[in-house]
Each structure stands twice: as C-alpha cells, then as structure tokens.
C-alpha cells in the first residue's frame, strides 16, 4: 500500500428533504431525498483554492484511490493517477469524487427507495441527463463550502461531465481536463448503448425493471461484453489474445468458449454483474446518449464555447474508436476560435478507449505539468 492514499472512507451527502430543496431535472421532474456518495483525498487548504473534482466514467464510482479496508484486493479505479506524488497529488490538492445520480454505488438511482412510496423506484425513476448529474454535484460543492474548483477532470462519460460543468458553471472552475470524450454522443455510440439496453430489457428476469431475487444477469453481462469490445482496439485485442485457444490444443467444434478472447469477455461480463445494476445501466447510458453540448446552441459548437474563459487540457488516444481523436479535435477547434487557452495531445496508444485508465505514464506527465503550471500562477 505504499504510495497510495491508504484506507479511505465513503461519505454521504443528502439533500432534497422538501420540495423547495428538491433536485429539478432537465425532464421537468423533481427528485427528493437525493444522496450523493463521495470520497475525498488530501486536505482543503486555507484559501480553499486547491479543490479538484474528479469525474468517473459510465460504470465507475466515487472510489478513485486507496482502499476501503486492509482486505481489499483492488484499489480505487484511478489509483495510478491519484495519491501522494502522483499526477493528482494528494499532498497538494484536495480531491473530491462523487458517484453520479442514477448510479448504483451509493448515490440515489433507480434501485433506491422512493421516499414517497417506500418502494424501489425501478423504472419510475426519472430519466436523468449529464446536466442533472452536474446539478447534483453543484449541491455537493456548496455543501463542502468550495468556492471554486481548481480543476474538474474526467475521462469518457467523466469528460462529458467536465464539459457540462464548464457550460453550466463557468465561473466556478479555473481549468478543466477532458479526456477521451466527445462534445456529443455519436450515432455509433448511441447504437452500441441501444443494443446493450435491448440485451438487458430482453432478459426475462429483468421483469420491466422490477427484478428482486433474480437479477437479469445474462442481459447485463451481454451488454457489458459488447461495451467492453468498444473499449479495446483491434490491435490491443490482437496483442492480448491473438487467436489463442483457451485450454485447448485444437478447436472443440462446439459453441462454448474456444478462444481466449471469448473466455475473457465472459469473465468481464460475469464480474460486472457482481458490481453493477441493470437499471442503472439503462439510465446512465441514456444520459450519455442525450449528451450534446450544442443542443442549446443550434448545433454550433463554437457558439457553445463562445464566452468560456476556462483553461482546457484536452487529451485523446490514437486508437480510441469509441470517442475518437476527431471528436476531441472538434472541441479544441471550437475553444481556439473563442481564444480559450487550450492544450491538446493525442496520446499514441494501442489500448483503445481504455487507454485513459491504462496510459498513466504519459497522461500523468501531461496532467502534472498542467496542474502545476495553473496552481502556481
């Protein structure tokens, strides 16, 4: 456990006890009794200007770094990047990460109990958007008494949350780091999400979202396997698996997993259902589909960023085909036309979209430089 933040505790912040305090959603609906599960690392300084908000991706959680107990086998999801002396240096910065609403890792989501009925929301949970998630985080920001974020940073869906923060609370952020993300969800990404949701909703155990004892594991596992392929690249799969057979000398001439890559995907699907909820998967992927920063600006990205002053670090990965470099370049182009200070790097990597979790070396150096330069000045 050297060089980590060590044992960390989860915290909860609940708001929306009454109608006046409710979270008002893009759909026009209201959410009462909203809980945000969050974790913090490092110390908020006296001037309260060293706070960084880290955003997780689709299936992430508030647990970015460290361990919950000494028996934990795995640390938080971005442990390589967050800790003493690391890119998000917990000796310097106060790091906050919260589980998004709609999630299933502690924050209010479709499996939470509706205070008005005493039963689980399931499909009566309102459809949420990325902006709704940000709105909830803004409540947490006020609760923590943080006047301004030094940085808001995240990859993939986390990058969408970053962009949404800039649009909705531009004067509450000094600078942002948007990694492997997109200004709007592409038709290709929407299509993959659709198939994933169809797989869940066609599982008989899903039961219109009202599953209790038996979970729609098959549907969710298939959704995850499909999604997992989109996180890799042709080359990374070739390097990792090739056409290697799984514990076989020759083809088995059947349809069980013959190839390494097949058993890997099956394993990914199985471990996923142990930690993630099917209804949450529906809600969060939907929020991503609806994401489009240009929606209120006639589809014009330049207009969306017209009055932005926030400094940007934009990073993409050369082999990412889910949120390809061309999407990041669109963001960079629009920012430059608004005279925003923007740094962009397309990191050379064969890991595909997953690179944002795996390329800690190069990504770490970029982030370290960017944060240091902006924190000192």
């Amino acid at each position: 456990m050297t060089n980590t933040v060590g044992i960390v505790k989860e915290k909860d912040f609940t708001f929306g006890k009454n109608e006046d305090d409710a979270l008002i959603l893009d759909s026009g609906k209201r959410l009462l009794d909203v809980n945000l599960r969050y974790e913090t690392y490092g110390t908020l300084n006296k001037s309260r200007n060293n706070a960084i908000l880290i955003q997780h991706a689709l299936t992430g959680s508030a647990h970015v770094a460290g361990y919950h107990s000494e028996n934990d086998r795995k640390p938080g999801w971005w442990n390589d990047m967050v800790g003493p002396g690391k890119a998000f240096d917990t000796d310097k910065y106060f790091i906050v990460c919260s589980n998004c609403i709609g999630g299933c890792s502690g924050s209010t989501g479709p499996r939470s109990v509706n205070p008005e009925t005493g039963k689980r929301y399931n499909l009566s949970f309102p459809v949420i958007t990325i902006a709704d998630m940000v709105r909830a985080q803004y409540r947490l920001m006020k609760h923590l008494n943080i006047p301004k974020w030094l940085t808001v940073a995240g990859g993939s869906m986390g990058g969408m949350l970053v962009l949404q923060w800039v649009l909705d609370y531009p004067d509450k952020i000094d600078n942002v780091i948007a990694i492997a993300t997109s200004p709007k969800h592409s038709p290709q990404a929407i299509a993959f999400n659709w198939v994933g949701r169809e797989s869940i909703m066609n599982d008989p155990r899903w039961d219109n979202g009202n599953y209790e004892d038996e979970f729609p594991e098959n549907g969710l596992a298939t959704a995850r396997m499909l999604a997992h392929i989109t996180y890799l690249s042709e080359k990374s799969m070739d390097i990792k698996f090739g056409r290697k057979l799984r514990k076989l000398k020759n083809y088995a001439y059947n349809f069980s997993h013959n190839f390494e890559v097949e058993s890997y995907l099956e394993y990914q699907g199985q471990t996923f259902v142990e930690r993630f909820d099917a209804n949450s998967y529906l809600y969060i992927t939907r929020a991503m589909d609806y994401f489009d920063v240009t929606a209120d600006f006639d589809g014009d990205l330049n207009k969306a960023f017209e009055n932005i002053k926030t400094k940007f670090l934009v990073v993409s990965f050369s082999s990412d085909w889910l949120y390809p470099p061309t999407e990041s370049r669109k963001i960079v182009k629009a920012l430059r036309s608004s005279n925003v200070d923007v740094t962009y790097c397309n990191i050379d990597s064969h890991y595909g979209h997953d690179a944002f979790l795996l390329e800690a070396g190069t990504l770490g150096k970029l982030i370290t430089g960017f944060l240091d330069a902006n924190y000192l000045t």
Binding site: L313, R336, V342, T343, L366, F370, D372, A373, T377
Partner: protein, 200 residues
C-alpha cells in the same frame, strides 16, 4: 519561473514581437519562446507541436499547445486571427513551404520566420571541395535521413516572398559572430536569417 536562455534566432524573433500581442508559434518545441513572450511581454501566446514529449514540456511551462501536423495547414484558423505567426528554422522541413508561408500571412497580420541559409560560404565550400552534401551544426543530418527536405538560401526565400506577393518588412541576417560581412553580404556570410513579413 526558470531563467530561459533562448537560441540566437529566437532572441531576435522575440525582439520583433510587440507586447500584449496575440502570437501563434508553429512547431513551438518545448515552449521556451512562448513562455518568455508570455511572461516578459504579456502576449497571448499558443503553439502547435507534433511531438508528445515536447507537448509535455510546454504543459510544464504553462504554455498552451495543440498537437497538430503543420503539413495539414492552418485551415482551422480564420484570416488575421493573430498579430504574429512564428516559424523558427522549420520552413525547410514541411511538405510545401510555399503553402505554409501563404497560410502564415493569411492567419497572421504579420509572420516572423527564421531561415537556415544554404548560401552560407562554408556550406558552399563544403559542396565545392568535398563534392558531398554539406553538413554543419545546424544541419547535423546526412542527405538520406534529413528532415530538411526543402533547404534554400536567403535569396531563394526573398524570391519566394516576391512571387507570393509577400512583403519583407524586416530582415536580420545572423551568424554566431555577426559582423559587417554578415550584414552586407547575408547570402554568403549569414548562417540564419530572421524575416518579418506580411501580405502585400
């Protein structure tokens, strides 16, 4: 901030930049020139660079830089977006120097370039006496592995400018030990020359 010591041509380039102006540095390397201009002249400066390692160096200096290939041109920028567009000792290694030069004076009100001079007498003598392609401190490559595929002389650059209807406002011929020979016979005695140009 660390004390940045600039290369001779970059020093001359930085002298030509007016305070508080808007600058784009093409192939900005590790960002030294931009860092100096930003801190000493309060310019709004950003760069374009291809190499990942150099982008990291720029980031450490707080210099905004975008990863791009100069051969893709500057079409993402509108006309006159910058007061100055800078290109130091790089024109010779792009695919089409003429296209880039035209683009520079389009997006910049002014362009500042430093040019390697193949007309420098020592290089001429090398070719004359050894019969081989010249190599020097500024040209450390062999003919077969050099990125400098479009080397020219000061005279060549002047002719290119006039053929593209580009006006030369300032010309500063340089040599490690600049003297009156460098000044009066630049095409023979300057190793490098800095040009400030604009569209006519």
């Amino acid at each position: 901030m660390e004390n940045i010591i600039l290369r001779q041509d970059l020093k001359e380039i930085s002298n030509l930049v007016a305070p508080k102006s808007k600058v784009l540095d093409l192939g900005c390397g590790n960002g030294s020139l931009l860092a100096k201009l930003r801190s000493e002249k309060d310019v709004i400066g950003s760069g374009i660079e291809l190499a990942q390692e150099r982008i990291i160096k720029c980031t450490e200096k707080g210099v905004p830089v975008v990863q791009e290939n100069l051969d893709d041109g500057l079409c993402q920028f509108k006309d006159n977006s910058f007061d100055y567009v800078i290109l130091s000792k790089t024109l010779q290694s792009v695919q089409r120097p003429d296209h880039l030069l035209k683009d520079m004076v389009r997006v910049g009100k002014k362009a500042i370039l430093s040019i390697i001079n193949m007309g420098f007498y020592r290089l001429r003598l090398q070719l004359l006496f050894t019969g081989r392609m010249p190599e020097s401190k500024t040209l450390p490559y062999h003919w077969y592995n050099t990125p400098n595929t479009h080397l020219g002389t000061i005279k060549d650059f002047q002719l290119l400018c006039s053929s593209l209807d580009i006006k030369i406002i300032r010309e500063i011929p340089l040599n490690e030990n600049s003297n009156s020979l460098t000044k009066f016979f630049p095409n023979l005695f300057a190793t490098t020359s800095v040009f400030k140009v604009t569209k006519n």
